[in-house]
Amino acid sequence: MTKFFDNKDRVGAALILAFSLFYLRSSLSIPVDPFDAEVGFTSKTLPLFLGSCAFVISLLLLFISYLQSEGDSISEGVHGYDWKPVLALILLMAAYVTLFSFLGFVLASALFLQSAFFLLGERRLLVSISVSLGLVLFLWLLLTQVFGLYLDGGTLYRVLGN
C-alpha cells in the first residue's frame, strides 16, 4: 500500500480519476433545456464528454504507472521539504479568511502578516510589527483615501464602536 502511494504519476492520476468520477456523477444531474435536446447539444453534453475523457486518460495513466518498473518517487521527490511552516501557513491563511469579516481588513491583515513573519523565523518584533502594520496601513490609506474603496472595518469594530 505504501509503495502504491510512492509514485507521483499514480497518485496524481488516482486523484484525477476520483475527481472525474465525482464530476461525471454530478454532470448526470444537470437540468436539460428541451430546445437544446433537439439540437443534440445540451448543458450536460460537454461535461459528460470531458468527464469521460478525464476518466479514461487518468485510468490509462494509472495503468502505465503500473507497467513502468520505475517512476518518480514521492518520498525521494519531497526529501528535505519543509512541511511544518507550509502547513502552519495554510492554517494561518484559513484563520485569516475565517476571521476577516469579524476582525476587519486592518486588524486581520496585520495579525496575519505578523504571525507569518514569526512563523518563517523573524524574531525581531519591532521590525516585523513595523513592516506588517506599515504595509497594511499604507494599503488601507491608499485604497480608502486615494481610490475611495470601502474596506470592511469588521464586526468587532462595529461592536466596540457601539
Binding site: F19, P31, I57, S58, L61, D72, P85, F112, L120
Partner: protein, 504 residues
C-alpha cells in the same frame, strides 16, 4: 493598417499608458528577479491592479510586467545563478561565470542589449505577421474557432516535456471541466451544488492567483527558500557593477548570433506551447554548434555569445507568442493564457476581429511592447545595481507579503471573503499537483479556452442542425483538426519509433 498603427501610436503615447509601460517594466523586473516567481505569477499579481484601467492601459501594463519579469529573471540568473524564470536558465550558463569573473556589469549589458535586439526584431516580425494572419483568419466561422480552441488545448499538451504529455492532456481536461462550473450559455446552472458563490463560475483571477501566485509562494516555503537568503546576500556582495559599456569587438562578436537567435526565437515563440524556455535552449545550442573551436571552449565559462544567444531567443520568443493570441485568440503559453483571461475579463475578444473592432488595443499593445524594450534598456539597466537590492530583502518578509497580496488581489475585485476560502482550497490542491509534477499551465489554458470552446461548438451545431459533419465537411475545420491530430500523435509515434530503433 497605417491608420491602425497611428491609432496605436496615439494610444501608446498617452501619458497614462507611458506610465503603465514604466510601472509594468519596473514591477515586472522586481517580481521576476525573485527566484521562484516567474512572469505568470508576476502577471497574476498585477491583474487586480489593471481591473480599474481601460483595456488598452491594462494590457500595456501587463505586457510591461511580462517583459520586466523576463528581464528580472535573467538578472538574478546572472548575478546569483538563480534564474527567476525557466526561460533564463540558459542565461545562467555563461552569465553567472561572467559575473563571477568580475564582469557583472558587462554581462548585464550583453543580456539587456541582446534582449532589446531580440525584442526589436520580434516586434518588427509581429508587425508584419499579425495583420496578414488576422486577415486570413477573418474567414473563420464558429466551426473553425472550435477547431482552433481544440488545437490550442492540445498543442500545449503535445509540446510538454518528456513523459508529461498525458499529464498535460489530463490537466487541460481538468481546466476544461472547471470552466463548465456555473451558468452555461443557455442559462442553466451547472455543477454549482446550490452554492451561490459558484453560480457565476470560478473566477479566472481566483484560479490564476491560487494556482500560480499562492501555490508558488507556498512551494518556495516548502523547498526551504523562505527562511533566509544568506547565500544570495553573499553572492550579491561579491558582485561588482563596473562599466555597463561594451567594446566594438564585443558588439561585433555577438551581432550575428543575436540576429540568428532573434529569428529562431520568434518562430519558436509562435508555435503554441513551445515558448521562451525552449527558444533559449535552442538558441544556446545552435550558437554553440556554429561557434569556432576557440569560441566553443569559452561556452559555460563566460562566453558573450553563450549569454547573448539565449537572451535574444527568449525575448524574441516572448514577442512571437503574441502572434497566436492576437490573431487567432489562442494562447501559446501559460503567460499568454493568463493575458487572454485578462482580455476576456475586459470584454475584449482576441482573435482576427480584434484589429478591426479594437484597433487601439491591438496596435497600442504591439507598440508598447517595443516601448517596453526601450524602457528596459535605458531605464532598468542603469538601475539594476539598485533594483538588485531586492534580492537582499529577507525571505521571511517576502513570502508572507506575496501570500497577503495574492489574497488581497482576489478580495479587492470581489469584496467577498467566501472567494478567499475557495482560493485557499484551490491553492492547496494546486500545491499538491505541483509536488506531483503535474503541469498547471495547461489547466489554466483549458479553463480559459473552455467557455469559448463550448460557445463555438454550440453555435456550429446550431448552424449545422445538430450535425457534427462540419468537422470534416468544412475544409478549413478539417485541416485544423487534422493538424491537431498529427500534433497529438507525434509524441506517441516518436516514442514507438525510438523503441523500434532500440530493438534493432
Amino acid at each position: 493598417m497605417l491608420d491602425g498603427i497611428l491609432i496605436g501610436l496615439q494610444t501608446a503615447f498617452t501619458p497614462i499608458n507611458l506610465l503603465m509601460v514604466l510601472a509594468g517594466c519596473f514591477a515586472g523586473t522586481v517580481i521576476g528577479m525573485l527566484p521562484g516567481l516567474g512572469p505568470v505569477s508576476a502577471i497574476a499579481l498585477m491583474i487586480p491592479v489593471t481591473y480599474g484601467l481601460d483595456p488598452a492601459s491594462g494590457l500595456i501594463l501587463i505586457s510591461g510586467v511580462y517583459y520586466g519579469a523576463i528581464f528580472g529573471g535573467s538578472t538574478s540568473a546572472i548575478l546569483i545563478n538563480a534564474p527567476g524564470v525557466s526561460g533564463a536558465v540558459a542565461t545562467a550558463f555563461d552569465g553567472y561565470p561572467m559575473a563571477q569573473s568580475g564582469n557583472a556589469g558587462k554581462a548585464l549589458a550583453i543580456a539587456a542589449y541582446s534582449s532589446f535586439a531580440g525584442g526589436t526584431i520580434g516586434a518588427i516580425l509581429l508587425l508584419l505577421c499579425v495583420p496578414f494572419l488576422a486577415s486570413v483568419s477573418l474567414s473563420f466561422q464558429s466551426s473553425e474557432y472550435f477547431a482552433l480552441m481544440v488545437f490550442g488545448c492540445t498543442a500545449v499538451a503535445a509540446f510538454s516535456g518528456k513523459g508529461q504529455v498525458l499529464k498535460a492532456v489530463l490537466m487541460t481536461l481538468v481546466g476544461l471541466m472547471l470552466a463548465t462550473v456555473g451558468e452555461d450559455p443557455s442559462g442553466a446552472q451547472r455543477l454549482t451544488f446550490g452554492n451561490a458563490e459558484l453560480s457565476d463560475g470560478i473566477s479566472f483571477l481566483l484560479l490564476s492567483m491560487a494556482t500560480f501566485a499562492l501555490a508558488e509562494a507556498l512551494s518556495m516555503v516548502l523547498k526551504g527558500k523562505s527562511k533566509s537568503n544568506d547565500n544570495e546576500s553573499k553572492e550579491m556582495a561579491k558582485v561588482s557593477f563596473e562599466s555597463l559599456k561594451l567594446s566594438r569587438d564585443e558588439v561585433k562578436e555577438i551581432a550575428m548570433p543575436v540576429g540568428r537567435s532573434s529569428l529562431l526565437g520568434f518562430f519558436v515563440g509562435v508555435l503554441p506551447g513551445a515558448g521562451a524556455t525552449i527558444a533559449s535552449f535552442l538558441g544556446y545550442g545552435m550558437e554553440r554548434n556554429l561557434a569556432s573551436e576557440e569560441q566553443k571552449k569559452l561556452f559555460g565559462k563566460g562566453s558573450p555569445i553563450g549569454l547573448a544567444a539565449p537572451e535574444t531567443a527568449n525575448n524574441a520568443a516572448s514577442t512571437g507568442s503574441f502572434v497566436p493570441l492576437l490573431t487567432l485568440g489562442i494562447p501559446g503559453s501559460g503567460t499568454t493564457a493568463i493575458m487572454l483571461g485578462a482580455l476576456l475579463s475586459y470584454g475584449v475578444q482576441p482573435g482576427p476581429r480584434l484589429f478591426i473592432d479594437n484597433p487601439a488595443v491591438f496596435w497600442s499593445v504591439i507598440i508598447s511592447m517595443y516601448l517596453g524594450n526601450i524602457v528596459l534598456l535605458i531605464l532598468n539597466l542603469p538601475l539594476i545595481p539598485y533594483i538588485a537590492k531586492i534580492l537582499q530583502v529577507p525571505r521571511q518578509f517576502l513570502t508572507p507579503i506575496i501570500l497577503f497580496l495574492s489574497l488581497m488581489g482576489v478580495y479587492l475585485v470581489s469584496f467577498n471573503p467566501a472567494e478567499l476560502s475557495i482560493m485557499l482550497v484551490i491553492g492547496v490542491i494546486a500545491l499538491a499537483f505541483r509536488i506531483l509534477d503535474y503541469p498547471l499551465a495547461p489547466m489554466l489554458l483549458g479553463f480559459i479556452l473552455g467557455g469559448m470552446l463550448e460557445d463555438n461548438l454550440r453555435r456550429a451545431l446550431l448552424i449545422w442542425d445538430g450535425s457534427y459533419d462540419f468537422l470534416w465537411q468544412r475544409p478549413l475545420t478539417a485541416t485544423i483538426m487534422m493538424v491537431t491530430l498529427i500534433i497529438m500523435l507525434t509524441p506517441v509515434f516518436s516514442e514507438l519509433l525510438k523503441r523500434a530503433h532500440r530493438r534493432r
